[in-house]
């Protein structure tokens, strides 16, 4: 990880940050607060009506109500957020991810209000935020890109002509896209028209821009991304790669660092390409350069001009606090102490989402009635969830990030199995069960998986996971159900004489138990 230094950016006089407003909620807001506590920085939370009792509000030193429930009424109200910062005397704003994190206008408004913006400049965001302008910038910076269009296409006929040149299968992507919306794979020309209209409609709905971008669809691709960090003094570093191929509909589920298929030479080449990409847009702060890797080659996909959900695994492997580094960079400090950091061991992250994998991954809403967190060596939980929390339809379904660290990949994997076996979330369904299965598949164990693996696994026809526990747990589960009914029946008034004899014992036991509890 050689440092590379070029033209220093002016306006870099250090200005300490003593109080930071976090323009976000949930897990990432809590995560940022934790770094602030470590740095001795006071925190200001903002919150919607739905989040009055949220953990990020309770953990903050100050909290300001934004009102409303939907993001548009609350966490997207840049004006109210800046007013809250001024009112509380905060000297900086950290946007987290999502909401206003990649909104250049907001970044400019924050700076105009005399506050430090913990993130890259609006200009960097603007270039990288648009698929076409970022691609042009990358071609110029000699960063490899996937063959495809450089101009936005707005009708299916033009898309058909271009696709003939690139060769099928091709991929349609929203020009202003993100988060998996407005993306379609078109296997043959016959399917172009319908794919174009649905993808374009979805993009128009989500981003107000229905223009499409076409590119070659890569065979068995892997999603591998490089963490970068730059300061305002011209230093840009990379922190190796994260393997994020276990995703479904472009929503990542399991990530690991390092990638099982990247060797040191490739890591260096990808790292240098990522640093070149960041330099091309005068990037400072933390960011992620996403690549698609296919058959030994890698191609620039996009740059996320913010901290990412899965930054924690890089932190574990490099022994660095990326959030703290972002804050230092925003304060005008240098990142010289990060130069020469080397990766160590292996980290795996599972996203704990409130969703139902048995039911098409539909969001699972409700109240978190019960929580049992895992622990032990090599375990890190980044979470915003608590018992009694309402999972509402207003926000993202991610509840927590489970991270396991080990001296090597197999130790990290075994630790993550333990984490998922110890974890219990009651009241809502989560992604934990399917993650546990995936970690035990031959594909994961050998590291031989691509971005289509999870979808294929879910659709069926894939190998059954090899469970290490030899007990027949399905049988045990069925027995539990019978026992549960027996107990429930015993607690209720007997329906017929047959049941009453069994019931009285349990009634007595239950009364005794209750009596004992109240005495404590």
């Amino acid at each position: 990880m050689a440092p590379s230094r070029s033209k220093p950016v002016p306006e870099s006089t250090p200005r300490p940050i003593r109080k930071l407003l976090i323009a976000n909620r949930g897990e990432i807001a809590v995560r940022i607060q934790r770094s602030c506590r470590d740095l001795g920085i006071e925190t200001v939370a903002v919150y919607s009506d739905a989040d009055r009792n949220a953990l990020h509000v309770r953990f903050a030193n100050q909290a300001v109500a934004l009102g409303g429930n939907t993001p548009a009424e609350s966490y997207l109200r840049g004006d109210r957020i800046i007013a809250a910062a001024k009112e509380t005397g905060a000297d900086a704003i950290h946007p987290g991810f999502g909401f206003l994190a990649e909104n250049g206008e907001f970044a400019d408004a924050v700076a105009a209000a005399g506050l430090a913006w913990v993130g890259p400049t609006a200009k960097s965001m603007a270039i990288m935020g648009d698929k076409l302008s970022s691609r042009r910038a990358m071609v110029e910076a000699k960063v490899p890109v996937v063959p495809g269009t450089t101009e936005a296409v707005d009708d299916p006929a033009a898309a058909l002509r271009i696709a003939e040149d690139i060769g099928y299968p091709v991929m349609l992507k929203a020009s202003a896209g993100g988060g998996g919306k407005g993306i379609r794979v078109v296997p043959f020309a016959d399917e172009m028209e319908s794919a174009f209209s649905t993808a374009s409609g979805e993009a128009k709905n989500a981003f107000g821009d229905g223009r499409m971008y076409l590119e070659k669809f890569l065979v068995s691709p892997r999603h591998i991304e490089i963490q970068v960090l730059g300061d305002k003094h011209g230093t840009v570093l990379h922190f190796g790669e994260r393997e994020c191929s276990l995703q479904r509909r472009h929503q990542k589920l399991i990530e690991e660092a390092p990638s099982p298929i990247i060797d040191e030479a490739t890591r260096q080449r990808m790292g240098e390409a990522a640093v070149a990409a960041a330099r091309a847009v005068d990037y400072h702060s933390a960011g992620t350069v996403e690549f698609l890797w296919s058959q030994g080659e890698f191609y620039f996909l996009e740059m996320n001009t913010r901290i990412q959900v899965e930054h924690g695994i890089t932190e574990e492997v490099y022994g660095v606090d990326l959030i703290a580094q972002m804050i230092r960079v925003a304060a005008g400090e240098q990142i010289d102490d990060c130069v020469g950091l080397m990766p160590r061991g292996h980290a795996i992250e599972v996203r704990l989402n409130a969703e139902d994998p048995d039911n098409g991954f539909l969001p699972s809403l409700g109240t978190v009635r019960n929580l049992r967190w895992p622990g032990g060596p090599g375990v890190r939980i980044d979470s915003g969830v608590y018992r009694g929390m309402e999972v509402t339809p207003y926000y993202d379904s991610m509840l927590a990030k489970l991270i396991a660290f080990g001296r090597d990949r197999e130790q990290a994997r075994r630790r993550m199995l333990r984490v998922l076996q110890e974890l219990h979330v009651g009241g809502v369904k989560t992604s934990a069960g399917i993650a546990l299965q995936l970690l035990q598949t031959e594909a994961f164990i050998t590291g031989d998986y691509d971005t289509g693996f999870l979808e294929r696994y879910v659709e069926g026809g894939n190998e059954a996971p090899k469970r290490e526990v030899t007990d027949d747990l399905e049988r045990v589960a069925a027995i539990v159900a019978a026992l549960h009914r027996q107990r429930a029946g015993a607690r209720r008034p007997a329906r017929n004489p047959q049941e009453s004899s069994g019931g009285s014992n349990w009634l007595r036991a239950a009364r005794l138990e209750q009596h004992g509890r109240s005495g404590r």
Binding site: P363, A477, V480, A482, A509
Partner: protein, 176 residues
């Protein structure tokens, strides 16, 4: 009591509570095979401690209703339908009846992005009839059993609550 269990993978089990031994738990006959089980409620919030023939399990139970349970053991979970003798007999009678009408409901609150079914149209089991946007994601709404669309209760752009009926289906007369 005797219970008839069915898991989501259609595995079936018969569990007979042969003897309630109070604090010592139960003596069970699982498909005729003798077992000893103790199930204790840990926190009254869904966590249980199970000892089955000397093996220990951390169990949690989520109850949809009396008969429909989710049982989680060591991170894996199973949907189990538990019927007693009376319910099993009643279920067997109901299964012989004519096919039922279906009401397709919203699984969660959200906004209807599109409705692809039309009144009078025949839809197959598993067919997508509408798209519902919730939690920033577009979710396909599907018919469970299939049938003939009797009435559309919502239109594109409508905001719906969880459990709200979106589409009513009449049984498909061509189905056996």
């Amino acid at each position: 009591m005797k219970y008839f269990l069915k898991t989501q993978s259609d595995r079936r089990l018969e569990v007979e509570v042969a003897e309630d031994q109070g604090e010592q738990g139960y003596r069970l006959l699982v498909d005729g095979e003798e077992c000893q089980a103790v199930l204790r409620d840990v926190d009254r919030l869904g966590q249980y401690a199970l000892v089955l023939d000397g093996r220990s399990y951390a169990v949690s139970i989520e109850e949809t209703d009396e008969q429909h349970l989710y049982v989680n053991i060591a991170g894996e979970s199973w949907q189990v339908i538990a019927e007693d003798e009376r319910e099993k007999a009643a279920g067997a009678i109901a299964a012989q009846g004519p096919p039922k009408a279906e009401q397709i409901k919203a699984a969660m609150p959200g906004v209807i992005i599109s409705v692809s079914a039309e009144e009078g149209q025949t839809v197959a089991a598993g067919e997508t009839v509408a798209v519902l946007e919730a939690m920033k994601m577009q979710n396909e709404v599907q018919s469970q059993h299939g049938g003939v669309v009797e009435s559309l209760m919502v239109a594109t752009g409508d905001r719906v609550e969880a459990g709200q009926v979106l589409i009513k289906l009449a049984p498909n007369p061509d189905a056996e």
